[in-house]
Symmetry: C2
Subunit: 170 residues, 2 copies
DNA sequence: TTGGTCATGTAATTCGTTACATGATTGA
DNA sequence: TCAATCATGTAACGAATTACATGACCAA
């Protein structure tokens, strides 16, 4: 149900077209809530149908710019304050760990080495991203906080994978 | 696609019925790959149809015990060694952080306080679980490694949320 | 004039959730 | 005997992915 709120959230900043939103999903939100083009357009049509957003302008090439309505902002605030975030589940990375016993210790350590590399790359990617983030609007402030989460997460996972590799006997 | 591999992985340890597997999803795998009863039974029927598992015994009350076939074990190993784990995405918790700017700073800090509590409870839950884990079979060894991940994750998230709360001005 | 980007939409399929539906076995 | 647990299955719906399909605009 949260793609809806992701769209409302992005539109709370400023009006945007489906195409604009797609770009922003590909950059800032990609690490947190990926969405495909087809999903975004379908959801925007639905949201406009229920009055949470509205077509605020039309441009060339059939461009439709959507803006958040008062009702939409209320829904966004309601979601943020009155509903509990769902526990984050479904980690492909962790699921595999459970079954490393069917592999040789060497193969298991190889998998953990991959995770270490993945974490290092994730860390570096976010570090570079942090350098390009500017501005002091609310999304920059909270985007920076979310980014810090990503940095800490990757560092934690790297250290954990190193520890785990050490636990697997020869 | 990973419910399939979660089932193959659990069956690689020992044969089990749908009911048995459901119980194990509710306990050990719940934090990593939740699955519902209906999903499990449907997937088992599909896996038996493709020959990755087979009905190894039938018991009272229509109980069907499934066992991994050689083909199933190959598929499990293939998945573990030849396919890359998908990046973990879709965090409701993090998505909300992006949009805390539409709330008052006080409400935003309240949200982060909730996250701190959620992380503390998650940590405690896993710590208690760690005490009950016994045995030294492969799933206990790797289960313990996965559990350590959970502990570190919750500790990391707690510290991050405390840091973040400090960043939000009055 | 043509290739790249902007721009939107729909169809098919799979995956996941909730709810419904049924019934056998067992231990207190 | 009766409640709890064991045990399986299907239907309906919603969410997500992939693929298909189309076309306008703009700059080199």
């Amino acid at each position: 149900m949260s793609l809806k709120h992701a769209l409302l959230g992005l539109l709370s900043e400023r009006p945007a077209s489906g195409y604009d939103l797609l770009k922003r999903f590909e950059t800032s939100l990609a690490n947190v809530w990926p969405a495909t083009q087809s999903q975004i357009y379908t959801e925007l049509t639905k949201l406009a149908g229920t009055g949470l957003i509205t077509v605020s302008a039309e441009g060339p090439r059939g461009r439709k710019e959507y803006a958040l309505t008062g009702e939409g902002l209320s829904e966004l605030r309601y979601w943020l304050t009155e509903t509990k975030p769902q526990r984050n589940t479904r980690s492909d990375v962790l699921l595999r760990v459970f079954f490393l016993g069917v592999l040789t210790p060497e193969q298991a350590r190889e998998y953990l080495a991959e995770l270490i590399e993945m974490s290092e790359q994730g860390y570096e990617h976010l570090r570079r991203l942090a350098e390009t983030v500017d501005g002091d609007d609310s999304l920059a402030v909270y985007g920076r906080i979310a980014l810090e989460y990503g940095l800490r997460f990757n560092a934690m996972r790297r250290e954990w994978a190193e520890w785990a590799a050490g636990r697997i006997g020869q």
